[in-house]
């Protein structure tokens, strides 16, 4: 049962990833990307970590994919994408990917990682939260500072320079 599920999700993920790269229509490419990200969430469920899976769906499928779709819809695609058809590049890319995958797979298969079996229950998300707040709190605060700094920087960069006030604002 789990094997067939795994195979199904793997096929979904890989096929939609290829579709996301190869689709002519950018919108369909975006939808295929959503399929890939959802397939990864399926892997997380199979690996007994529903917490990560649900966040994967909520953040990547629910927010990032919406941002991508929204950007595609608002931008005229001729302006940013110039179609350069070059079959040599494609074959080179496929060959490079195959070499990478085979070498990575060889490393993983030889590392003994494939023979590990555990009987331990899945990690409770409460323990992860406690670890974050007790043991890793400096990292958490550093991350928060970096994030808020980057948001502030983005807001400063996006601010209007010409000083034109929006005339419709009444409040």
């Amino acid at each position: 049962m789990v094997d067939s599920l795994f195979l199904g999700i793997a096929v979904l993920t890989i096929v939609s990833a290829i579709a996301a790269l190869e689709m002519r229509s950018l919108i369909y490419g975006g939808i295929a990307l959503m399929g890939t990200l959802g397939g990864i969430a399926g892997f997380f469920i199979l690996l007994d970590s529903p917490f990560v899976a649900l966040f994967q769906i909520a953040v990547y499928v629910g927010s990032i994919a919406v941002l991508i779709l929204f950007t595609i819809m608002l931008v005229k695609n001729e302006l940013i994408f110039q179609k350069k058809e070059d079959p040599k590049r494609r074959y080179a890319g496929i060959a490079l990917m195959l070499i990478l995958m085979i070498s990575l797979g060889a490393v993983i298969f030889n590392s003994g990682l494939s023979s590990i079996t555990t009987e331990e229950p899945p990690v409770d998300y409460k323990e992860i939260g406690e670890d974050f707040l007790i043991y890793y709190w400096p990292a958490l605060i550093a991350m928060a500072l970096v994030l808020s700094g980057s948001i502030t920087g983005a807001m400063i960069l996006a601010r209007r320079q010409d000083g034109v006030e929006d005339e419709q604002r009444t409040d």
């Binding site: 959503m34 919406v66 819809m73």
Partner: protein, 435 residues
């Protein structure tokens, strides 16, 4: 002689009917019965109450309906029943359909109109059926330059996502379709799909008004999702769980709205915005952009979107009840124990002569009936408060809407979280406190 069937004769009608009956009998005996027999060879019959149920027992139960109680009871424990009928789609669609009618009638009364009146003689009670028949029988028109696959898929996906939301809502003790530990997170994940479907369907129609409506819906839903999630975090901190069933069970003594009224208000306003209801109905503003992102839908496609909208309305109201109003908890209004003699001896209709023995009673546990009564009452009350602004308020402007979402509601949600933290750390709630 009528115009519709000019060559009508009663003899022809009778001949056609008898002809059809003849062929049905012939086909049933020659093909139907052997096929049934072949299928029956390969089927394992279920064992219910220590007896094997075969087709003959089913026929027997048809003549004595009280003997089919174990079968009904067994059916009610299956997943199919839960998904399709009680806590799932059928229940939600029933409440949604009722809400459509009540909304029209209520708005009419608020605005001193009559509302639906003629269908079904009594206060237009059959208006909903008439509308449904009209939607089903209308032609589905697809715009010539629309992106057809997405345009077809969008209404189905919308209704399916709303149904997935309903599946997470616990209605009575033990009666929930998908009982998972991380129910609240799953709710957030499901809510995240609505903007995608909206903006995709708006784009695929390839028309001006749907696209404007879709963009507005995207802005509105994405910006109100954040205070929606934040306003529920206080309760998660107080209960220490994301499981909706455990959150309901933590409210046996008092509902959380007593301690977090600010969170409840923020959550309620976010519900209004997520459901695109007045005063936040900019995505479908009918006086500005025809019908917003629904403009190009026709026939049953529009009906499906409408069904999804009202199922979503029920699900959000039910989530409010689960989080803030204590779910199924409430005083007993239904007798705690069923009458003992009925279970042991059966119902005596004529003393000494006729006794009906019912082997499958009680059909529902009393706890479940009581819980469902309270849950439905609370949900209907919340739905009433969601409907009410439609008769009262005008539509807000888009920049004011975004300002409410980003500046005010998020701040209030954080205030709510700090109240929750203060309650936990001061020891009012939690270990040593009243819980």
């Amino acid at each position: 002689m009528s115009v519709i069937a000019p060559k009508f004769r009663l003899g022809y009608l009778i001949k056609a009917i008898t002809d059809n009956i003849f062929w049905i009998i012939v086909l049933l005996t020659l093909i139907g019965l052997p096929a049934v027999m072949i299928v029956l060879i390969y089927i394992d019959f279920p064992v219910i109450d220590g007896e094997i149920w075969n087709p003959f027992r089913v026929f027997d139960a048809m003549t004595h309906p009280e003997r089919s109680l174990p079968l009904v009871k067994n059916f009610m424990q299956t997943d199919f029943f839960k998904i399709a009928v009680f806590p799932g789609l059928g229940f939600a669609a029933l409440i949604g359909g009722g809400v459509i009618f009540v909304e029209r009638k209520l708005l009419a009364k608020l605005q001193l109109r009559v509302g639906p009146f003629y269908c079904g003689k009594v206060e237009g009670i059959l208006q909903l059926v008439a509308d449904g028949l009209k939607l089903i029988s209308k032609e589905i028109i697809i715009p010539a330059k629309a992106d057809k696959p997405i345009f077809w898929a969008a209404p189905v996906l919308f209704a399916a996502t709303a149904a997935a939301f309903v599946a997470l809502i616990p209605v009575a003790p033990g009666w929930v379709v998908a009982d998972i530990d991380l129910g609240l997170l799953a709710v957030f994940a499901v809510i995240g799909f609505f903007p995608i479907i909206t903006v995709l369907s708006a784009w695929s129609a390839n028309s001006k008004y749907p696209f404007i409506g879709g963009i507005r819906a995207l802005f509105q839903m994405v910006s109100f999702e954040i205070p929606l999630i934040l306003s529920l975090l206080g309760i998660v901190m107080l209960t220490g769980t994301l499981d909706l069933v455990e959150i309901i069970e933590s409210q046996v003594n008092f509902p959380w709205i007593i301690f977090m009224p600010i969170g409840a208000i923020v959550f309620f306003i976010c519900i209004l915005a997520e459901l695109e209801r007045i005063p936040f109905d900019l995505p479908e503003a009918e006086s500005e952009i025809v019908a917003g992102w629904l403009t190009e839908f026709s026939g049953m496609m529009y009906g499906l979107v409408q069904l999804g909208t009202y199922i979503k309305l029920y699900a959000f109201a039910a989530l409010f009840v689960v989080m803030f109003l204590g779910g199924w908890n409430g005083p007993w209004v239904f007798p705690i124990e069923p009458i003992a003699e009925v279970i042991t001896d059966g119902i005596v209709i004529m003393p000494g002569a006729l006794t009906v023995e019912l082997s499958g009673l009680p059909l529902f546990s009393q706890e479940m009936i009581n819980g469902t009564i309270w849950f439905v009452l609370k949900t209907v009350a919340v739905i009433f408060f969601i409907l009410l602004p439609r008769g009262v308020f005008p539509r807000v402007r888009i920049d004011l809407l975004l300002k409410i979402g980003w500046y005010k509601l998020i701040v209030l949600a954080f205030v709510n979280i700090f109240i929750a933290l203060a309650l936990v750390y001061s020891g009012v709630i939690g270990p040593g406190g009243i819980m």
